[in-house]
């Protein structure tokens, strides 16, 4: 049984077909790639998975439970974490607070606890802080914990977004172009990190990326999306030699 299943999903905006009959089956603990030319609808799939857009037709199931009609925050609480193509950090919060914010739904101190600073409040804050610092350490930015997130260099902002998403303890992690705008050294470093996180935590990762080197290197299975439709799926060598994929890239992309 697949852990996450997208079943014949279509999404239309007033006649424009953003996704057509997309079906995917993600198994636990595997690193997937999702590639395709610009405007193919890759981020749209993320937006459907996270509940931002309800699909026009079809179904999305996480561990056999339909996510259609669920609110974005409910889906996040069920264990789908994500990053954004255009980074969306809480810029005026510190790096540490950004990660701590992801623990909101898993902690439960009440307003009374907060106002009277009860023992429970302190214990919980302390625990969240330690866990958050750990995540920052994994991403190698724990030395910047007290800096406002908006002040971080670009590459570190990308890392912080991943750390924040991990704060949800997700079962499925959606990474939207994590290497966009990074230089080759940073990209290599990030590539290793993603693989390490995925293995260490044994989570499922679905990754959108334009950097083919990165995708081919770490993804165990790759989906190719062209004009809202899946045209090919399989391991790197299969995808690389698929005629439709080559056509799509030569024909459409820059």
């Amino acid at each position: 049984m697949a852990f996450l299943e997208i079943d014949n999903m279509s999404l239309e905006f007033g006649g424009v077909k953003a996704c057509q009959n997309v079906s995917m089956k993600l198994e636990p603990g595997i690193l997937y790639g999702l590639i395709g030319p610009n405007g193919a609808g890759k981020s749209t799939i993320f937006n459907v998975l996270t509940g931002i857009y309800p699909p026009t037709r079809g179904d999305v199931r996480l561990s056999d439970e339909s996510l259609v009609g669920k609110k974005p925050f409910e889906i996040a609480q069920k264990g789908i974490g994500r990053t954004f193509q255009n980074i969306r950090l809480f810029k005026e919060l510190t790096v540490l607070e950004n990660v701590m914010s992801a623990f909101y739904s898993s902690s439960n101190s009440s307003i009374t606890d907060m106002v009277f600073e009860t023992g429970k409040f302190h214990a919980e804050e302390e625990e969240v802080k330690i866990k958050s610092l750990e995540l920052l350490k994994v991403m190698g930015i724990d030395d910047l914990a007290a800096v406002p997130a908006g002040g971080l260099p670009y590459g570190k902002q990308r890392k912080l977004e991943i750390a924040r998403a991990l704060g949800l303890s997700p079962k499925l992690l959606l990474l939207d172009e994590p290497a966009a705008g990074l230089n080759p050294t940073e990209t290599r470093e990030l590539t290793d990190l993603i693989r390490k996180i995925q293995k260490d935590r044994n989570i499922t990762v679905l990754l959108i990326e334009h950097d083919m080197g990165l995708v081919m290197k770490i993804c165990e299975k790759i989906y190719v999306l062209v004009q809202g439709q899946l045209v090919c799926e399989g391991p790197a060598d299969v995808v690389q030699n698929d005629k439709r994929v080559i056509e799509a890239y030569l024909g459409v992309d820059e």
Binding site: F13, S43, N47, I52, F84
Partner: protein
């Protein structure tokens, strides 16, 4: 039934005054995304410009006539336009890049400044707006009276709105203004002089409010420096009702508001008249935030 016709006539006259003010709100919102809270005071200054012009600039003993009315109207429009431009240049332009709440607070500050400045200059107690228009009550039979003032108000507002339609839809300025309302960035990129267009928008919007001030003075001849507060707010609500940023919508919204206020005052109670506008505001925003003629926008993720 007779009552109804009488209320409808009164409501249309009130609605056309609201419309002139609402147009300024909606135009400024279109280009700057700013609720210009000082617009009600520009309207008030229009009324006072008209008052002082007819008191001091016209020779004593001038008989009321359409010609005089047009002159007073023009004077008020100039007075308000000058004020609008000054406000834009000194209060809003320095804040073009600031967060919107700052501009809003500034607008409120300007509004207070004009209210209290007005009390200082014009005095706080109400003054009588001079009779500049020969007035007759035409008996339409069955106790329905048509005040010639109401016809004049209606016709003059209509003419001004036609001129505005021409400016917005047929001239280079209008095209630029609509381009800016659509997207300020794009307008910048394609080489539209944004500051100039905003400047002209304030001139036109303020002039219309000035004209409305005089028409208000004709219809309700007791004016004071706080007079802009409530009609200003209601005109703004009319603009929201029609779909803020939408010029036709502002007129439709204003006429609907004018009519319904008159009906409520006539059939229910005048104390609830002022509440009506706010009830409309809430219903529109909760049920159809884009207004009657507005469109829905989807946030891009």
């Amino acid at each position: 039934m007779n009552d109804f016709i009488q209320h409808t006539i009164n409501g249309l006259a009130l609605g056309s005054i609201y419309a002139l003010v609402a147009l300024g709100y909606t135009m400024v919102f279109g280009v700057l995304q700013l609720i210009n809270f000082a617009h009600g005071e520009i309207f008030m200054i229009g009324a006072f410009s008209g008052l002082y012009f007819s008191r001091y600039a016209l020779p004593a003993g001038t008989e009321p006539s359409i010609g005089v009315t047009l002159m007073v109207l023009l004077a008020a429009m100039i007075g308000s336009a000058v004020l609008g431009v000054i406000i834009e240049k000194f209060a809003y332009r320095p804040l073009r890049k600031a967060p919107r709440i700052n501009i809003l607070i500034t607008a409120i500050g300007v509004s207070l400044l004009l209210q209290y400045g007005g009390q200082l200059i014009f005095g706080a107690s109400p003054q009588f707006f001079p009779t500049i228009l020969p007035r007759q009550n035409i008996d339409l039979g069955g106790d329905i009276f048509l005040d010639t003032n109401q016809i004049t108000i209606f016709i003059l507002s209509f003419v001004l709105m036609v001129i505005l339609q021409y400016l917005v839809f047929k001239t280079q300025f209008g095209r630029s203004m609509r381009a800016i309302s659509h997207s300020l960035e794009t307008a910048n990129v394609i080489g539209i002089n944004v500051n100039k267009v905003i400047f002209i928008t304030f001139i036109i919007g303020s002039a219309l409010a000035g004209a409305a001030g005089v028409l208000y003075g004709i219809a309700y001849p007791k004016i004071d420096p706080l007079l802009g507060l409530l009609p200003g707010l209601k005109a703004f609500i009319a603009a929201v009702l029609g779909g803020i940023g939408n010029i036709t919508g502002a007129v439709i919204g204003a006429v609907l508001l004018g009519l319904s206020e008159t009906y409520v005052a006539g059939y229910i109670s005048s104390t609830y008249r002022d509440a009506l506008a706010f009830v409309i505001l809430i219903l529109v925003l909760l049920l159809r935030p884009g207004g009657l003629l507005g469109s829905k926008k989807i946030e891009k993720v």
